[in-house]
Amino acid sequence: MESIERPLAPPNPDAAPYWDGLREGRLMLQSCVSCGTVRHYPRPLCAECHSFEVEWLPSCCMGRVHSWTVIHHAFHPAFEDELPYCLVTVDLAEGVRVNVPLRDAGPHELGIGHRVHIVFERESAALTLPACVLVLRNEDPVV
Protein backbone atom coordinates (compact mmCIF):
# COMPACT_ATOMS: atom_id res chain seq x y z
CA MET A 1 0.00 0.00 0.00
CA GLU A 2 1.30 3.43 -0.89
CA SER A 3 2.07 5.55 2.15
CA ILE A 4 0.20 8.81 2.70
CA GLU A 5 2.32 11.87 2.04
CA ARG A 6 3.27 14.27 4.79
CA PRO A 7 1.68 17.71 4.71
CA LEU A 8 4.10 20.01 2.89
CA ALA A 9 3.75 23.71 2.17
CA PRO A 10 4.28 25.13 -1.32
CA PRO A 11 7.89 26.12 -2.11
CA ASN A 12 8.94 29.39 -0.46
CA PRO A 13 11.98 31.15 -1.95
CA ASP A 14 12.80 32.74 1.44
CA ALA A 15 13.39 29.26 2.86
CA ALA A 16 14.93 27.38 -0.09
CA PRO A 17 18.45 27.18 1.45
CA TYR A 18 16.94 25.55 4.57
CA TRP A 19 15.35 22.71 2.59
CA ASP A 20 18.39 22.39 0.31
CA GLY A 21 20.61 22.13 3.41
CA LEU A 22 18.52 19.33 4.93
CA ARG A 23 18.93 17.31 1.74
CA GLU A 24 22.70 17.69 2.19
CA GLY A 25 22.56 16.66 5.87
CA ARG A 26 22.97 20.15 7.28
CA LEU A 27 20.67 22.33 9.39
CA MET A 28 21.07 25.77 7.83
CA LEU A 29 20.27 28.83 9.94
CA GLN A 30 19.95 32.45 8.84
CA SER A 31 22.49 34.90 10.21
CA CYS A 32 22.02 38.65 9.70
CA VAL A 33 24.96 40.09 7.73
CA SER A 34 24.43 43.48 9.33
CA CYS A 35 24.16 42.63 13.05
CA GLY A 36 24.96 38.92 13.29
CA THR A 37 21.65 37.90 14.89
CA VAL A 38 20.79 34.26 14.14
CA ARG A 39 17.10 33.66 13.38
CA HIS A 40 14.83 30.70 12.74
CA TYR A 41 12.39 29.76 11.24
CA PRO A 42 13.54 31.28 7.92
CA ARG A 43 12.08 34.71 7.16
CA PRO A 44 13.02 37.71 5.02
CA LEU A 45 13.88 40.42 7.57
CA CYS A 46 16.06 40.76 10.68
CA ALA A 47 13.72 42.00 13.45
CA GLU A 48 16.71 43.48 15.33
CA CYS A 49 18.20 45.76 12.65
CA HIS A 50 15.78 45.41 9.71
CA SER A 51 18.40 44.24 7.26
CA PHE A 52 17.39 41.89 4.44
CA GLU A 53 21.05 40.84 4.00
CA VAL A 54 21.43 37.29 5.21
CA GLU A 55 23.99 34.51 5.13
CA TRP A 56 23.16 30.88 5.76
CA LEU A 57 25.34 29.02 8.26
CA PRO A 58 25.23 25.32 9.17
CA SER A 59 24.18 24.67 12.77
CA CYS A 60 26.61 22.67 14.94
CA CYS A 61 23.54 20.48 15.53
CA MET A 62 24.10 20.35 19.29
CA GLY A 63 21.37 21.39 21.65
CA ARG A 64 19.46 20.82 24.85
CA VAL A 65 15.92 19.76 25.65
CA HIS A 66 13.65 22.76 26.28
CA SER A 67 10.34 20.87 26.33
CA TRP A 68 8.58 17.95 24.66
CA THR A 69 5.30 16.19 23.92
CA VAL A 70 4.30 12.65 23.04
CA ILE A 71 1.77 12.51 20.23
CA HIS A 72 -0.88 9.80 20.60
CA HIS A 73 -3.44 11.13 18.12
CA ALA A 74 -2.32 11.70 14.54
CA PHE A 75 -4.73 14.44 13.29
CA HIS A 76 -3.14 13.86 9.84
CA PRO A 77 -3.23 10.35 8.32
CA ALA A 78 0.45 10.49 7.31
CA PHE A 79 1.44 10.04 10.97
CA GLU A 80 -0.90 7.17 11.94
CA ASP A 81 1.84 4.56 11.56
CA GLU A 82 4.31 6.51 13.71
CA LEU A 83 2.12 6.72 16.83
CA PRO A 84 3.08 7.32 19.51
CA TYR A 85 5.92 9.67 18.65
CA CYS A 86 7.81 12.17 20.76
CA LEU A 87 8.52 15.72 19.59
CA VAL A 88 11.31 17.62 21.33
CA THR A 89 11.61 21.40 21.48
CA VAL A 90 15.38 21.83 21.26
CA ASP A 91 17.45 24.85 22.30
CA LEU A 92 20.19 24.82 19.68
CA ALA A 93 23.65 26.07 20.65
CA GLU A 94 23.13 28.97 18.21
CA GLY A 95 20.29 30.35 20.36
CA VAL A 96 17.26 29.36 18.26
CA ARG A 97 15.00 26.34 18.55
CA VAL A 98 13.71 23.47 16.48
CA ASN A 99 10.77 21.12 17.08
CA VAL A 100 11.83 17.65 15.96
CA PRO A 101 11.04 13.98 16.59
CA LEU A 102 13.10 12.02 19.12
CA ARG A 103 14.77 8.82 17.88
CA ASP A 104 16.29 5.88 19.76
CA ALA A 105 14.93 6.90 23.16
CA GLY A 106 11.68 7.22 25.06
CA PRO A 107 10.14 10.30 26.68
CA HIS A 108 10.85 8.89 30.16
CA GLU A 109 14.54 9.54 29.41
CA LEU A 110 13.92 13.25 28.76
CA GLY A 111 14.42 16.18 31.09
CA ILE A 112 14.91 19.90 30.63
CA GLY A 113 18.53 20.62 29.74
CA HIS A 114 19.37 17.11 28.57
CA ARG A 115 21.77 17.11 25.63
CA VAL A 116 20.59 16.15 22.15
CA HIS A 117 22.00 16.35 18.69
CA ILE A 118 20.26 16.78 15.39
CA VAL A 119 20.22 13.96 12.85
CA PHE A 120 18.81 13.85 9.34
CA GLU A 121 16.27 11.44 7.86
CA ARG A 122 15.84 11.08 4.13
CA GLU A 123 12.16 10.76 3.21
CA SER A 124 12.60 10.93 -0.57
CA ALA A 125 14.96 12.40 -3.15
CA ALA A 126 13.26 15.75 -2.61
CA LEU A 127 12.78 15.74 1.16
CA THR A 128 15.03 15.24 4.18
CA LEU A 129 13.73 16.13 7.65
CA PRO A 130 15.54 16.81 10.95
CA ALA A 131 15.18 14.65 14.05
CA CYS A 132 17.17 14.37 17.28
CA VAL A 133 18.85 11.75 19.46
CA LEU A 134 19.84 11.97 23.11
CA VAL A 135 23.51 12.46 23.88
CA LEU A 136 24.37 10.36 26.93
CA ARG A 137 24.70 12.73 29.85
CA ASN A 138 28.25 11.64 30.72
CA GLU A 139 29.44 11.86 27.18
CA ASP A 140 31.04 15.11 26.11
CA PRO A 141 29.55 16.10 22.78
CA VAL A 142 31.96 16.64 19.93
CA VAL A 143 31.24 20.20 18.86
Partner: protein, 383 residues
Protein backbone atom coordinates in the same frame (compact mmCIF):
# COMPACT_ATOMS: atom_id res chain seq x y z
CA UNK B 1 -9.34 59.01 24.45
CA UNK B 2 -9.94 55.86 26.46
CA UNK B 3 -12.56 53.25 25.61
CA UNK B 4 -13.59 53.19 29.29
CA UNK B 5 -17.39 52.87 29.49
CA UNK B 6 -17.88 53.90 25.86
CA UNK B 7 -19.47 50.65 24.69
CA UNK B 8 -22.08 48.31 26.16
CA UNK B 9 -23.22 44.81 25.28
CA UNK B 10 -26.91 45.33 24.62
CA UNK B 11 -27.95 42.05 23.04
CA UNK B 12 -26.89 38.39 23.13
CA UNK B 13 -28.13 35.41 21.15
CA UNK B 14 -27.33 31.75 20.64
CA UNK B 15 -28.58 28.79 18.65
CA UNK B 16 -28.64 25.36 20.23
CA UNK B 17 -25.22 23.70 20.40
CA UNK B 18 -24.80 20.27 18.81
CA UNK B 19 -22.52 18.03 16.79
CA UNK B 20 -24.75 18.16 13.72
CA UNK B 21 -26.68 21.38 13.18
CA UNK B 22 -28.11 20.35 9.82
CA UNK B 23 -27.92 23.99 8.71
CA UNK B 24 -25.39 26.10 6.85
CA UNK B 25 -22.91 28.33 8.67
CA UNK B 26 -24.65 31.36 7.14
CA UNK B 27 -28.05 30.20 8.36
CA UNK B 28 -26.66 29.64 11.88
CA UNK B 29 -25.07 33.11 11.79
CA UNK B 30 -28.39 34.69 10.91
CA UNK B 31 -30.33 32.80 13.58
CA UNK B 32 -27.97 33.92 16.36
CA UNK B 33 -27.85 37.46 14.91
CA UNK B 34 -31.65 37.84 14.92
CA UNK B 35 -31.76 36.51 18.48
CA UNK B 36 -29.14 39.03 19.67
CA UNK B 37 -30.83 41.95 17.88
CA UNK B 38 -34.23 41.05 19.35
CA UNK B 39 -32.67 40.58 22.81
CA UNK B 40 -31.41 44.18 22.59
CA UNK B 41 -34.88 45.39 21.63
CA UNK B 42 -33.57 46.57 18.29
CA UNK B 43 -34.68 45.91 14.73
CA UNK B 44 -32.24 44.56 12.14
CA UNK B 45 -32.32 47.93 10.37
CA UNK B 46 -30.82 49.58 13.48
CA UNK B 47 -27.55 47.67 12.96
CA UNK B 48 -25.02 50.02 11.35
CA UNK B 49 -21.82 48.08 12.05
CA UNK B 50 -20.80 44.42 11.65
CA UNK B 51 -17.75 42.39 12.60
CA UNK B 52 -18.17 38.90 11.10
CA UNK B 53 -15.88 36.14 12.42
CA UNK B 54 -12.56 36.50 10.65
CA UNK B 55 -12.40 33.15 8.90
CA UNK B 56 -14.29 34.72 5.97
CA UNK B 57 -16.95 32.03 5.72
CA UNK B 58 -19.53 34.76 6.32
CA UNK B 59 -18.78 38.31 5.19
CA UNK B 60 -20.41 41.70 5.73
CA UNK B 61 -22.11 41.41 2.35
CA UNK B 62 -23.98 38.29 3.52
CA UNK B 63 -25.26 40.15 6.55
CA UNK B 64 -26.35 43.20 4.53
CA UNK B 65 -28.12 41.01 2.00
CA UNK B 66 -29.94 38.75 4.44
CA UNK B 67 -30.71 41.15 7.28
CA UNK B 68 -31.56 44.03 4.93
CA UNK B 69 -29.04 46.39 6.51
CA UNK B 70 -29.70 49.56 4.52
CA UNK B 71 -27.26 51.84 6.31
CA UNK B 72 -24.16 49.84 7.23
CA UNK B 73 -21.38 52.33 7.98
CA UNK B 74 -18.75 50.08 9.51
CA UNK B 75 -17.43 46.59 8.80
CA UNK B 76 -14.22 44.97 9.97
CA UNK B 77 -12.76 41.59 10.86
CA UNK B 78 -10.54 40.74 13.83
CA UNK B 79 -8.89 37.47 12.77
CA UNK B 80 -7.12 36.42 15.96
CA UNK B 81 -8.42 32.85 16.14
CA UNK B 82 -9.90 32.29 19.58
CA UNK B 83 -9.02 35.84 20.61
CA UNK B 84 -11.24 37.20 17.82
CA UNK B 85 -14.47 37.71 19.77
CA UNK B 86 -13.04 39.83 22.56
CA UNK B 87 -10.87 41.66 20.00
CA UNK B 88 -14.13 42.43 18.18
CA UNK B 89 -15.53 43.97 21.36
CA UNK B 90 -12.55 46.35 21.40
CA UNK B 91 -12.91 47.06 17.68
CA UNK B 92 -16.64 47.75 18.03
CA UNK B 93 -16.16 49.96 21.07
CA UNK B 94 -13.49 51.95 19.20
CA UNK B 95 -15.73 52.46 16.18
CA UNK B 96 -18.62 53.51 18.42
CA UNK B 97 -16.46 55.85 20.50
CA UNK B 98 -15.19 57.47 17.31
CA UNK B 99 -18.76 58.13 16.21
CA UNK B 100 -18.59 55.89 13.15
CA UNK B 101 -21.62 53.79 14.12
CA UNK B 102 -24.04 53.04 16.97
CA UNK B 103 -24.92 49.34 17.02
CA UNK B 104 -22.36 46.72 15.96
CA UNK B 105 -23.43 43.12 15.37
CA UNK B 106 -20.73 40.50 16.10
CA UNK B 107 -21.79 36.98 15.12
CA UNK B 108 -19.84 33.70 15.17
CA UNK B 109 -21.06 30.46 13.66
CA UNK B 110 -19.46 27.17 12.75
CA UNK B 111 -20.09 23.60 11.85
CA UNK B 112 -16.95 22.59 13.71
CA UNK B 113 -18.09 19.01 14.24
CA UNK B 114 -20.19 18.14 11.20
CA UNK B 115 -18.24 20.30 8.76
CA UNK B 116 -14.46 20.71 8.52
CA UNK B 117 -12.89 19.65 11.80
CA UNK B 118 -11.07 22.35 13.71
CA UNK B 119 -8.08 20.12 14.41
CA UNK B 120 -6.39 20.42 11.02
CA UNK B 121 -6.91 24.06 10.07
CA UNK B 122 -3.18 24.56 9.71
CA UNK B 123 -3.24 24.86 5.95
CA UNK B 124 -6.29 27.12 5.86
CA UNK B 125 -5.19 29.97 8.10
CA UNK B 126 -2.39 32.42 7.28
CA UNK B 127 -1.58 32.67 11.00
CA UNK B 128 -0.46 29.04 10.82
CA UNK B 129 1.70 29.47 7.72
CA UNK B 130 5.06 29.17 9.49
CA UNK B 131 3.99 26.11 11.45
CA UNK B 132 2.51 24.59 8.31
CA UNK B 133 5.80 25.04 6.50
CA UNK B 134 8.32 23.97 9.15
CA UNK B 135 6.54 21.89 11.81
CA UNK B 136 3.62 20.14 10.12
CA UNK B 137 6.06 17.98 8.08
CA UNK B 138 7.44 16.46 11.32
CA UNK B 139 3.98 15.92 12.80
CA UNK B 140 3.21 19.10 14.77
CA UNK B 141 0.20 20.82 13.27
CA UNK B 142 -2.95 20.55 15.39
CA UNK B 143 -3.38 22.92 18.34
CA UNK B 144 -3.09 20.06 20.87
CA UNK B 145 0.28 19.13 19.39
CA UNK B 146 1.54 22.71 19.31
CA UNK B 147 0.42 23.73 22.82
CA UNK B 148 1.48 20.55 24.64
CA UNK B 149 5.15 21.62 24.93
CA UNK B 150 4.01 24.82 26.70
CA UNK B 151 2.14 22.73 29.27
CA UNK B 152 5.03 20.26 29.67
CA UNK B 153 7.49 23.10 30.26
CA UNK B 154 5.16 24.56 32.91
CA UNK B 155 4.89 21.17 34.61
CA UNK B 156 8.66 20.66 34.64
CA UNK B 157 9.42 24.18 35.92
CA UNK B 158 6.64 24.59 38.48
CA UNK B 159 5.45 21.11 39.43
CA UNK B 160 2.05 21.56 37.81
CA UNK B 161 0.32 18.19 37.32
CA UNK B 162 -2.28 16.55 35.12
CA UNK B 163 -4.39 16.34 38.29
CA UNK B 164 -4.45 20.15 38.30
CA UNK B 165 -5.73 20.10 34.72
CA UNK B 166 -8.41 17.61 35.83
CA UNK B 167 -9.62 20.11 38.40
CA UNK B 168 -10.40 22.56 35.59
CA UNK B 169 -12.10 19.95 33.38
CA UNK B 170 -14.27 18.60 36.20
CA UNK B 171 -15.39 22.02 37.46
CA UNK B 172 -16.19 23.19 33.94
CA UNK B 173 -18.30 20.08 33.31
CA UNK B 174 -20.23 20.68 36.52
CA UNK B 175 -21.06 24.17 35.25
CA UNK B 176 -22.12 22.86 31.83
CA UNK B 177 -24.67 20.58 33.48
CA UNK B 178 -26.07 23.54 35.46
CA UNK B 179 -26.21 25.60 32.27
CA UNK B 180 -28.33 23.03 30.44
CA UNK B 181 -27.51 24.34 26.94
CA UNK B 182 -24.29 22.34 26.77
CA UNK B 183 -23.23 19.49 24.52
CA UNK B 184 -21.75 17.55 27.45
CA UNK B 185 -24.45 16.68 29.95
CA UNK B 186 -23.08 13.87 32.13
CA UNK B 187 -20.83 14.36 35.18
CA UNK B 188 -17.06 14.03 34.78
CA UNK B 189 -14.87 12.80 37.65
CA UNK B 190 -11.18 13.32 38.25
CA UNK B 191 -10.78 9.57 37.64
CA UNK B 192 -12.60 9.89 34.28
CA UNK B 193 -10.16 12.62 33.33
CA UNK B 194 -7.08 10.76 34.53
CA UNK B 195 -8.06 7.57 32.68
CA UNK B 196 -9.05 9.31 29.42
CA UNK B 197 -6.82 8.60 26.46
CA UNK B 198 -3.76 10.70 25.71
CA UNK B 199 -4.02 13.02 22.71
CA UNK B 200 -0.73 14.93 22.92
CA UNK B 201 0.94 14.32 26.26
CA UNK B 202 0.31 15.93 28.73
CA UNK B 203 -3.11 16.59 27.17
CA UNK B 204 -5.68 13.86 27.64
CA UNK B 205 -9.04 13.75 25.88
CA UNK B 206 -10.77 15.76 28.63
CA UNK B 207 -8.10 18.46 28.52
CA UNK B 208 -9.25 19.28 24.98
CA UNK B 209 -12.20 21.43 23.94
CA UNK B 210 -15.11 20.17 21.89
CA UNK B 211 -15.59 20.49 18.17
CA UNK B 212 -19.14 21.68 17.78
CA UNK B 213 -21.87 23.20 15.62
CA UNK B 214 -23.86 26.30 16.42
CA UNK B 215 -23.75 30.07 16.60
CA UNK B 216 -23.57 32.91 19.10
CA UNK B 217 -23.81 36.66 18.58
CA UNK B 218 -23.72 39.92 20.47
CA UNK B 219 -24.70 43.52 19.77
CA UNK B 220 -22.28 46.19 20.98
CA UNK B 221 -23.86 49.64 21.29
CA UNK B 222 -22.80 53.01 22.61
CA UNK B 223 -23.08 53.01 26.39
CA UNK B 224 -25.26 56.12 26.15
CA UNK B 225 -27.78 54.58 23.77
CA UNK B 226 -27.81 51.41 25.88
CA UNK B 227 -29.67 53.35 28.58
CA UNK B 228 -32.76 53.45 26.34
CA UNK B 229 -32.65 49.79 25.33
CA UNK B 230 -34.47 46.81 26.71
CA UNK B 231 -31.89 45.08 28.90
CA UNK B 232 -30.00 46.03 32.05
CA UNK B 233 -26.81 47.79 30.92
CA UNK B 234 -23.63 45.74 30.72
CA UNK B 235 -20.86 48.26 30.06
CA UNK B 236 -17.39 47.58 28.64
CA UNK B 237 -15.17 49.09 31.35
CA UNK B 238 -11.84 47.83 30.10
CA UNK B 239 -10.57 45.98 27.06
CA UNK B 240 -7.19 45.07 25.62
CA UNK B 241 -5.41 43.03 22.95
CA UNK B 242 -1.93 41.59 23.41
CA UNK B 243 0.39 39.60 21.19
CA UNK B 244 3.14 37.32 22.44
CA UNK B 245 6.72 37.29 21.30
CA UNK B 246 7.12 34.98 18.28
CA UNK B 247 3.40 34.92 17.43
CA UNK B 248 3.80 32.64 14.41
CA UNK B 249 5.76 29.82 16.05
CA UNK B 250 5.45 28.87 19.72
CA UNK B 251 8.69 26.88 19.43
CA UNK B 252 10.74 30.10 19.11
CA UNK B 253 9.13 31.94 22.05
CA UNK B 254 11.71 32.75 24.72
CA UNK B 255 9.29 31.97 27.57
CA UNK B 256 6.91 29.18 26.59
CA UNK B 257 4.81 29.78 29.70
CA UNK B 258 3.65 33.30 28.79
CA UNK B 259 0.88 34.37 26.44
CA UNK B 260 -0.16 37.72 24.96
CA UNK B 261 -2.81 37.72 27.68
CA UNK B 262 -0.44 39.42 30.15
CA UNK B 263 -0.17 42.49 27.88
CA UNK B 264 -3.92 42.60 27.25
CA UNK B 265 -4.64 42.24 30.98
CA UNK B 266 -2.50 45.25 31.91
CA UNK B 267 -4.43 47.32 29.39
CA UNK B 268 -7.90 46.09 30.38
CA UNK B 269 -7.40 46.31 34.16
CA UNK B 270 -5.73 49.71 33.80
CA UNK B 271 -8.59 51.07 31.70
CA UNK B 272 -11.27 49.72 34.05
CA UNK B 273 -9.38 50.91 37.13
CA UNK B 274 -9.89 47.60 38.91
CA UNK B 275 -7.68 44.70 40.05
CA UNK B 276 -8.09 40.92 39.79
CA UNK B 277 -9.38 40.86 43.39
CA UNK B 278 -12.40 42.91 42.27
CA UNK B 279 -13.62 40.35 39.69
CA UNK B 280 -16.77 38.44 40.68
CA UNK B 281 -16.95 36.01 37.76
CA UNK B 282 -14.58 35.05 34.90
CA UNK B 283 -15.15 33.43 31.52
CA UNK B 284 -11.66 32.32 30.47
CA UNK B 285 -10.94 30.93 27.02
CA UNK B 286 -10.51 27.20 27.50
CA UNK B 287 -9.42 25.51 24.29
CA UNK B 288 -7.31 23.36 26.65
CA UNK B 289 -7.35 23.08 30.44
CA UNK B 290 -3.73 24.26 30.64
CA UNK B 291 -4.53 27.43 28.70
CA UNK B 292 -6.97 28.40 31.50
CA UNK B 293 -4.30 27.77 34.13
CA UNK B 294 -1.71 29.81 32.22
CA UNK B 295 -4.11 32.72 31.68
CA UNK B 296 -5.01 32.81 35.40
CA UNK B 297 -1.32 33.58 35.97
CA UNK B 298 -0.97 36.02 33.08
CA UNK B 299 -4.12 37.84 34.22
CA UNK B 300 -2.63 38.32 37.68
CA UNK B 301 -5.03 36.13 39.67
CA UNK B 302 -1.89 34.38 40.93
CA UNK B 303 1.86 34.46 40.31
CA UNK B 304 3.50 32.67 37.38
CA UNK B 305 3.88 29.04 38.37
CA UNK B 306 1.12 29.12 40.99
CA UNK B 307 -1.79 28.30 38.66
CA UNK B 308 -1.85 24.68 39.80
CA UNK B 309 -2.18 25.64 43.45
CA UNK B 310 -4.78 28.30 42.55
CA UNK B 311 -7.15 25.85 40.84
CA UNK B 312 -6.51 23.01 43.31
CA UNK B 313 -8.77 24.20 46.13
CA UNK B 314 -11.98 24.56 44.13
CA UNK B 315 -11.38 28.24 43.36
CA UNK B 316 -13.05 28.00 39.95
CA UNK B 317 -16.35 26.55 41.15
CA UNK B 318 -19.52 28.40 42.16
CA UNK B 319 -18.86 29.74 45.63
CA UNK B 320 -15.11 29.56 45.03
CA UNK B 321 -12.63 32.44 44.90
CA UNK B 322 -13.13 32.98 41.16
CA UNK B 323 -16.15 31.21 39.62
CA UNK B 324 -14.95 30.49 36.10
CA UNK B 325 -16.56 29.29 32.89
CA UNK B 326 -19.96 29.14 34.49
CA UNK B 327 -21.56 28.00 31.20
CA UNK B 328 -19.29 25.03 30.63
CA UNK B 329 -16.83 26.72 28.29
CA UNK B 330 -15.31 25.29 25.16
CA UNK B 331 -14.49 22.17 27.16
CA UNK B 332 -18.07 21.16 27.92
CA UNK B 333 -20.62 23.60 26.47
CA UNK B 334 -19.47 24.18 22.88
CA UNK B 335 -16.55 25.58 20.88
CA UNK B 336 -17.98 28.88 19.67
CA UNK B 337 -14.54 30.50 19.47
CA UNK B 338 -15.29 32.07 22.86
CA UNK B 339 -18.38 34.03 21.82
CA UNK B 340 -20.30 31.78 24.20
CA UNK B 341 -17.99 33.13 26.93
CA UNK B 342 -19.00 36.72 26.10
CA UNK B 343 -22.68 35.75 26.05
CA UNK B 344 -22.37 34.02 29.43
CA UNK B 345 -20.64 36.96 31.09
CA UNK B 346 -23.45 39.26 29.94
CA UNK B 347 -26.04 36.84 31.32
CA UNK B 348 -24.17 36.63 34.65
CA UNK B 349 -24.10 40.42 34.99
CA UNK B 350 -27.79 40.69 34.10
CA UNK B 351 -28.58 37.99 36.68
CA UNK B 352 -29.92 35.66 33.97
CA UNK B 353 -27.48 32.75 34.39
CA UNK B 354 -29.97 30.38 35.97
CA UNK B 355 -28.64 27.56 38.13
CA UNK B 356 -25.06 28.73 37.52
CA UNK B 357 -25.72 32.33 38.57
CA UNK B 358 -22.95 33.87 40.67
CA UNK B 359 -24.90 35.67 43.38
CA UNK B 360 -24.42 39.42 43.25
CA UNK B 361 -22.10 39.40 40.21
CA UNK B 362 -21.39 43.02 39.27
CA UNK B 363 -17.96 42.91 37.67
CA UNK B 364 -16.76 40.19 35.31
CA UNK B 365 -13.89 39.34 33.01
CA UNK B 366 -13.82 37.50 29.70
CA UNK B 367 -10.77 36.45 27.69
CA UNK B 368 -9.91 35.18 24.26
CA UNK B 369 -6.83 33.19 23.32
CA UNK B 370 -5.75 33.01 19.69
CA UNK B 371 -3.89 30.29 17.93
CA UNK B 372 -0.24 30.96 18.77
CA UNK B 373 -0.74 33.00 21.93
CA UNK B 374 -2.69 36.16 21.04
CA UNK B 375 -4.56 37.30 24.11
CA UNK B 376 -7.62 39.52 24.54
CA UNK B 377 -9.24 40.59 27.79
CA UNK B 378 -12.42 42.54 28.49
CA UNK B 379 -13.93 43.65 31.78
CA UNK B 380 -17.68 44.24 31.89
CA UNK B 381 -19.67 45.84 34.66
CA UNK B 382 -23.37 46.04 35.46
CA UNK B 383 -24.38 49.68 35.39
Amino acid sequence: MSLYARGAITGVGETEYSRASGRSVLRLTLEASLAAIADAGLAPGDIDGVIPYGNFQVVAEDLITNLGLSDLRFSAVTPLGGASCVAAVQCAAAAIAAGVCNHVLVPVARNGASGGRIGMRVNEMPQFRVVGEFEAPVGAAAPAQLYAPMARRHMELYGTTSRDFAEIAVTTRRHAILNGRAIMSTPLSVEDHQSSRLIADPFRLYDCSLESDGAAAIVVSSAERARDLRQPRVVVLGVGEGHPESPSAITQRRDLTRLGTAVAARCAFGMAGVTPEDIDVAEIYDCFTYIVLCQLEDLGFCEKGEGGAFVRDGALGLGGRLPTNTHGGLLSQAHMVGMNHVVELVRQLRGEAGAAQVVGAELGLVTGYGDMGDGTVAIFGRA
